[in-house]
């Protein structure tokens, strides 16, 4: 029998993978994809809670999260394209002009 704990643990694993990816990788696009993975993990726990608590709010929140993620992906990728046009790289170690 699959309980809510199974889904929450899977969601935790995927979220942790996203966090580790953000910390380990240097490529801005892959960091961005890891953020998408974290959003997906949170969506999964939303839907799991909605199902096991007989509620609909979780699914509606996932709907709104997906919209925000789509907007975020569009703007974020535009920023990456703009940065690449100026610096010829997407390695975040080289994009340190705002460090000080």
């Amino acid at each position: 029998m699959i309980t809510i704990t199974h889904y929450l643990v899977l969601s935790a694993i995927l979220f942790t993978l996203g966090v580790v990816g953000v910390l380990v990788r240097r490529n801005a696009i892959i960091i961005f994809m890891c953020i998408e993975l974290m959003l997906n993990a949170v969506n999964l726990s939303f839907v799991a809670f909605a199902h096991y608590l007989n509620s609909m709010q979780g699914q509606l929140f996932v709907f709104f999260t997906m919209t925000v993620a789509a907007a975020e992906a569009a703007v974020g990728l535009a920023i990456i394209v703009a940065v690449f046009r100026n610096k010829e790289t997407v390695n975040i170690d080289d994009i340190n002009i705002m460090k000080w």
Binding site: N40, M56, V75, D93
Partner: protein, 169 residues
């Protein structure tokens, strides 16, 4: 049956998630992320959220990831570029802290703090009306204002993306 399906799909999702992190080629990373998202869509169907599963495939795996692939191919990234890592000592602490984070989340899950009031949308009721119809009803009644704000957000995001990516206005 349901349990077997859950374990198979969850295993595939975790494996592809690991490959997403440690794959050197960004194109393969994006394809692995698409695989993870399809697995999560299967889990949504197991959780009887059919509309969300369809939206997950169409919007995430279809639209957002194709945008990612377009940008990766547009920039024509050099795979070797990432080898010059300015913080080589960051990797092991990152993995260790990731494990600590996972343990912390598991402790919260185990602590039985995550409880809530049961709602009225039981499986039988949702199946008699239809998942999509219920979501549509709620979106255009209780959640009308967030829905409208979402449209403004998407509009602003489209304008912002064009402004940022255009060479000169």
């Amino acid at each position: 049956m349901e349990a077997y399906l859950f374990y198979i799909v969850a295993t595939i999702a975790v494996i592809t998630g690991v490959y997403l992190i440690f794959e050197r080629n960004p194109v393969f990373s994006a394809l692995f992320l698409i695989q993870t998202m399809v697995c999560i869509a299967v889990l949504y169907i197991l959780l009887e959220a059919q509309f969300i599963a369809a939206v997950q495939i169409i919007v995430y795996a279809g639209a957002i990831m194709v945008l990612f692939l377009f940008v990766i191919m547009l920039l024509n990234l050099n795979i070797k570029e990432e080898s010059k890592n300015a913080l080589p000592f960051q990797r092991i602490p990152a993995v260790v802290m990731g494990i600590v984070l996972f343990a912390a989340i598991c402790m919260i899950i185990k602590s039985k703090l995550l409880q809530g009031k049961h709602g009225e949308y039981t499986t039988a009721y949702v199946n008699s009306v239809g998942n999509t119809k219920l979501i549509g009803n709620l979106l255009f009644t209780d959640y009308l204002l967030p829905f409208e704000i979402t449209s403004i957000l998407l509009f602003v995001a489209a304008i912002g993306a064009i402004m940022l990516a255009k060479r000169k206005l």
